[in-house]
Structure formats: structure tokens, C-alpha cells
Amino acid sequence: MTYIPAEKLEQEAKELLDKLDFDKMKPRERMQIPMQEMPSQEPAVRAKNIEEVALGYYEEQVKIEAERCLQCKNAPCIKGCPVGINIPGFLKAAAEGDYQKSVDIIKESSMLPAICGRVCPQETQCMELCTVGKGLKDKDKSVAIGRVERFVADWERETGKMSLPEIAPATGKKVGIVGSGPAGLTAAADIRKAGHEVVLFEAFHKLGGVMVYGIPEFRLPKAILDKEVENLLSMGVKIEKNFLVGRTRKLSDLLEKDGYDALFIGTGAGLPNFMNIEGENLVGVFSANEFLTRANLMKAYTPDKADTPIYTGKKTAVIGGGNVAMDAARMALRVGAEEVYVIYRRTEKEMPARREEVVHAQEEGIHFNFLTNPKRVISDGKGHVAGIECLRYELGEPDDSGRRRPVAIEGSEFVLEMDSVIMALGNSSNPLISQTAKEISVNKWGNITVDEDGKTSMDRVYAGGDIVLGAATVILAMGEGRRAAESINKLLASE
């Protein structure tokens, strides 16, 4: 993939659309239709602004892309979708230009299509199993399901036709939701629909969880998130911000003293991991969470207005290879770093980050050092970061994750000069809830354990999302919120 200007993509799509006659196409011909590239801001320009990078399909592109779907009878793509969206169904409606119907089909299974269409790792979910990609022997050439999803969701929002789900008559029951990430938001909506009173507790002053403090504006504009939250409010969900469950109020008090009939915990991961290497606490070493929170939630990318400072080194190293690393690296570039290096101990192939984000980062000029890992952070003698000493790695036998294990090459030490380092090594679970509610069982990683209904070891308390799964994805967290909501609704209906 190399950058193609948006106007050119539009022009090409128009010309192609004139030429194609979809009605007469055989599957084999359909597979020859080229996949539509996503229009995006020009790399050199976007690397200096915070606006969304991907601009969204043109209508002609949506038509073409949706027509690439073969409407397979067995629809393998659906099996790849954690919430089982009727993919051929919504693609067909989009191909026919019935966007309302298309988005309605998605919404039967997914609450937040404008968000999922932007951030889901499609190439390891629906697109991985898509017949088109299989036939072309390249999953990156599968039907671009998420891009069509994004288009119809944006269409609905922008044309102001968003409909609110129907809400059952009041039941007199009250449910508390802890955390306003995708898991909590989804659970809140589903429980509210059943007619229960719902109160959403959030520690921060803004709702959305990682979607608001972690994932940057240039990938997921906050206005979209705000719209989803607004819908929740119009459904009558009550919000308690600046409320840290466990500290502001204990789980047991909510149940026993405050009259909650059930609780859902969607507190996310939290507790950033560090490497425990020398020099990690030097000035200029940050966790990706801190860096991104300062930038996103505290709006430090607007230095003329925001009070929260952000450390803008000239040469920044980001350690890790996931979405968090990509976001931190690209944000560093946007807040003033001149050179940014992603240091990852495996190769590009094993990177857990979404392919599209890696490509975007590369286009923006971020350097990648693969098969490399820091051994220690070097001080400038005054307590500030001066560089990192790294080891080169090679890939050994596959490990539990199925990926080949990185093995350090002895004696391969070398130094990279840096003045800031961002650790993007994932998160462990936040212990606050289990510390303050001994009834809640956790596994050895501190993740809350739940049964198949999403219920924890504490009576009337359910959990889901990253706090159960470990760092996962938006759509998986939503799926968990759904499942627990169903169990809670069932529990309350039976009483």
C-alpha cells in the first residue's frame, strides 16, 4: 500500500463504476474487482495535525466495495465477527444504496458501528475468513467490511436520522454499571432497554474509557464518541462522573445500602506494564497510557489552551508493537517529536497492531526497528534520558501465542540516542475492585473471573471487557457487555 490522493481514488471509483455491470457478474469476475483503498489525508500534512487520518469512502467506493461481496451462503465472515453481525446482509443493503437498512442490520448486533468501523482489527476477524480474500490468497484483499460499516454509520449520524431503541416500561429495578468503556456503554444500553433504571459510574470526567483517553482523535474523533454517549443519555441512563467505585463507594454498599439490584464491572485494564530495566524511572520515560492521556483526554495537543504539560522530546523511542505503540508513536510526532522510532522485538509480520495503522505510521515517517529490544535506559548524568541500550533479537521456536519467540542475540548490544522513551507494553489488570471487594475472585493475572453468564463470584455482580479478558479489543468488550446485560436482565425478570 502506498499513499494515493483522495481525489484520485474518487476519480478511479467513478470510472470503474461506469464500466461495471454488477447484475451480470459471475463470482469469479466479482473477485477481480479491485479492493477500494481508503482515502486519507496526505501523510506529510496529517503528521502535523490531529484531524482524522482516514477520510471515509466516497459513495461510489461503497457501492463497488459492497458489490465485491459474493453473498456466500455459509458466510464465513460472520464466524470471524465476535458479535456475529449479519455481514452479507448489511453489505447487500449498502450495495443497493439503502444505507438505513444497512446500518439497522448492523445495529441488531453492534451498538457502536461508527466506532467499530474505525477501530476493529478486521483483518484478524471477519476479513480473515472472507471468501474473496481466501480466493485471492491475501486477507488484506478481502471485502473491506469495516470501511463499509463506517460509511453507513457515518451516514446515519450525519444525516441526523439516528433512531433510539425502544425502552420497555419501568420495572422499578436499578442496575449500576462501573466504567464507561465499550463494555460498560453496551451493557448500560441493553439493560436500560429492558426498562431498568441504569446508573453509569465513571472515574474520569469524560465517558468512553480507552476510546476517550487512549485512542487518539486522529483515529477516532471524540465527536463520534460523544454522539454515542448522547444517545445513551437520551435513553435515560444516568451518569455519575468522578466516581471511583471501590473508593467513592464500595460494591457491597451499592448493593446493600444504595438499593442496586445488580452491578456490572467494566473497569478495563489499567496498570501499565514496565520492563523493570535499569533507567526506567528517569525523566523522559513514560507509559503510553500517561502520554496518551495527557495528549487526548487532557488535550495537550493544543498547547496554547491546555494546562496539562506534555513532554516533547526531539527523538522518541516507543517500545512495543501493538495499537497502543502505534498510537503513541504517531501522537509523539504530532506533539512535536522530530524523529520517532518504534522498537519491537519481533518482526513486522508478528506485530499485533492493525495493519492499516502500521502502514499509516510508516507513511507518516515513523521509523521501525524490528528484532530489537531495550536492555536499559541510559541517563545523561543529570537524571534525564539520553538513549537506550538495545539488544538485537532473532526468532526462535513458536511460543504459546503461536508466534515465533524472540531470542536475544548475546553480545549484540548497541546504543540508540533518544531523549524520550514511551513504554507501550500492555497493561495488567487494575487491582482496585478486587482489593476493596474481597468477594470478587481474580485469576493469577488479576483479571476478574466470571462464569459463562458473565457473573463474578460475588452475588449480583457481573463483569466483562478488558478487566476479564486482559487487554483485548473494543468489539470483544462490547460482546462481553452484551452477554452480561442479557444475564442481568434475565436475573431481574425472574424476580
Binding site: R247, T248, L271, N281, E290, M298
Partner: protein, 280 residues
């Protein structure tokens, strides 16, 4: 949302405010703090200790020193104004029990967080010896309140304008020699806590320090507040704010407090900190 119920100018650049915060007032224990933010959009989140609380009235008291832009803006707010975001109570409460004799050492603004701890220690039946220090007489805060709690009360000033002309470590050392206290609690500037820890170390007196690192979320998510305690990385907001002072790596902590110094100096310069305080 928290309304400011009252505001008192305690000393040169130190202010006391009572905030309406019924949820926090109900749950808070000695040693805990809040994170507050004037409004949701562009302002900074800063941690401040809960110096006192009244569960019945639903209020908490904060005492803060103006050191930069955010604390200055807070000082400029008045009774009746509303602080948009106040989160708390945060952190582990102080471990309070009847230890026997407890020496409480407070330096500068550190006397504010020390006050509820000294009170709780006294209530638990301890003999409480209090040492408070300030650069000069005008900067001394909560003297009467602290004096009322303490069985023995010692004041030090750097310039000798009031009480003894000593650093707090001097009387601390004397007490370690004479009284052999069971526990010491020290709160103040990091450098003072460091030297208090060094003072009690040879006597093997268990010493707790309350650390004032930089914080962003206060819930254990960002890692910005991390310190090295006994060679382990700890998060002050969830594991602390109190730690065994003999295990804390104060040097690294002090260094990390300077992380944003150049950026902050710039914003302080722009807001003409000194002049603004004079006008208050």
C-alpha cells in the same frame, strides 16, 4: 461538581477551602486525597490531600499552596464558585492503630495532610509528639489545630523567626534518642522526608512518608506517579500515598518531580505567578 463553601487565606500563598462533596466526605479516611480539576476541557488534574471532612455537612477541606498555574487559578476561585470535577477519596488510608508513641513531622504545606493523620493517631490512643517546620513564621499553618492534638508540640523555623531555629530533623533526632518513639510519620517536601528517614533509620524506628509525585488519573492507569520502593516500582495513587520511608528512593522521586519543569516555568511566567499572589 463541587461548590466552594468557604475560602480562607491561611498564610502568604496557602489557602484553605471547604468543598461540597458529600460522597467523599462520607467515605474518606486519614491519609487519603482527591484529584480535582476546575473544568473538564483544558485544565489540569491535580491531587490534594483531604485535610478534614465533615460527613454530616457533606463537606471536605483542602489546604493548598500556590506553586503554579493550576493552584493559582484555584486560589482565584471564590466561595460559591463550582469546581467541575472532584474525584476521591483516593489512595490507601493511613494504617492507624495504637502503636504507643507516634512522632508526626510536618514541613511547610505538608502540615495539612499530616493533620488528619495526627488526629487519627491521637484518637487511636497514641501519645502524639508533633514537630512542625516552616521556612519562616508567616508560612506556618494549622499551628493551633496541631497544638491541640499533640501531647508534645515543637515548632522549628529555618530563620528562627518563631520556635526553634532548626531543621525538623534536629528535634526528631533528639526524640529518637530520648523517647524511642514506636512510629514516625513525616510529610513535607521530598528532601525533608528524605532526611527525616535518614534520621530515624539508625534507630530502627518504623517511618512512613506520604509521597507527592506527579499524578494524572489517580486510579492506577497512567503510571505517572510511579516511585521505586525497596527496588520495586510502586504507584503512589493506588499503592500509596504512604510508604516505608526507609525503602523509598527519594532521589529518583525528586528528579521525576522536575519532569515538566521547563514547560511549567513557561506557563507560570506567562501567568505572572508572583504578582498574582500579591494581589490576592
Amino acid at each position: 461538581m463541587s461548590r466552594i463553601l468557604s475560602k480562607i487565606h491561611l498564610s502568604k500563598d496557602v489557602f484553605q477551602m471547604k468543598l461540597q462533596a458529600p460522597n467523599i466526605a462520607r467515605e474518606r479516611k486519614a491519609g487519603q486525597f482527591v484529584i480535582l480539576q476546575a473544568d473538564s476541557d483544558y485544565t489540569e488534574r491535580i491531587p490534594l490531600t483531604i485535610a478534614d471532612a465533615d460527613a454530616e455537612e457533606g463537606s471536605i477541606t483542602i489546604i493548598f499552596q500556590v506553586v503554579g498555574k493550576t493552584t493559582l487559578n484555584l486560589a482565584l476561585m471564590n466561595e460559591g464558585d463550582v469546581i467541575e470535577n472532584v474525584l476521591g477519596p483516593l489512595g490507601q488510608p493511613t494504617h492507624i492503630e495504637n502503636f504507643g508513641t507516634v512522632v508526626c513531622v510536618g514541613g511547610g504545606i505538608g502540615v495539612a495532610p499530616l493533620h488528619p493523620i495526627a488526629q487519627a493517631m491521637k484518637d487511636a490512643g497514641n501519645r502524639v509528639i508533633t514537630i512542625v517546620g516552616a521556612r519562616t513564621k508567616e508560612l506556618l499553618i494549622l499551628e493551633d489545630e496541631m497544638r491541640a492534638i499533640a501531647d508534645e508540640f515543637i515548632v522549628c523555623t529555618d530563620d528562627g523567626s518563631y520556635g526553634r531555629k532548626d531543621l525538623v530533623t534536629k528535634p526528631l533526632q533528639e526524640i529518637c534518642e530520648s523517647e524511642k518513639p514506636d512510629v514516625a510519620v513525616v510529610i513535607g517536601p521530598p528532601v525533608m522526608m528524605k532526611f527525616c528517614a535518614e534520621t530515624t533509620r539508625p534507630y530502627g524506628i518504623k517511618t512512613y512518608a506520604s509521597l507527592n509525585t506527579i499524578m494524572v488519573d489517580g486510579t492506577g492507569m497512567c503510571g505517572g506517579c510511579r516511585v521505586t520502593v525497596g527496588n520495586e516500582t510502586k504507584f503512589v495513587c493506588v499503592d500509596g500515598p504512604e510508604f516505608d520511608a526507609h525503602l523509598v528512593d527519594f532521589d529518583t522521586m525528586m528528579l521525576r518531580l522536575t519532569s515538566f519543569k521547563t514547560i511549567e516555568q513557561k506557563s507560570n511566567h506567562e501567568c505572572h505567578l508572583e504578582k498574582a499572589i500579591e494581589k490576592l
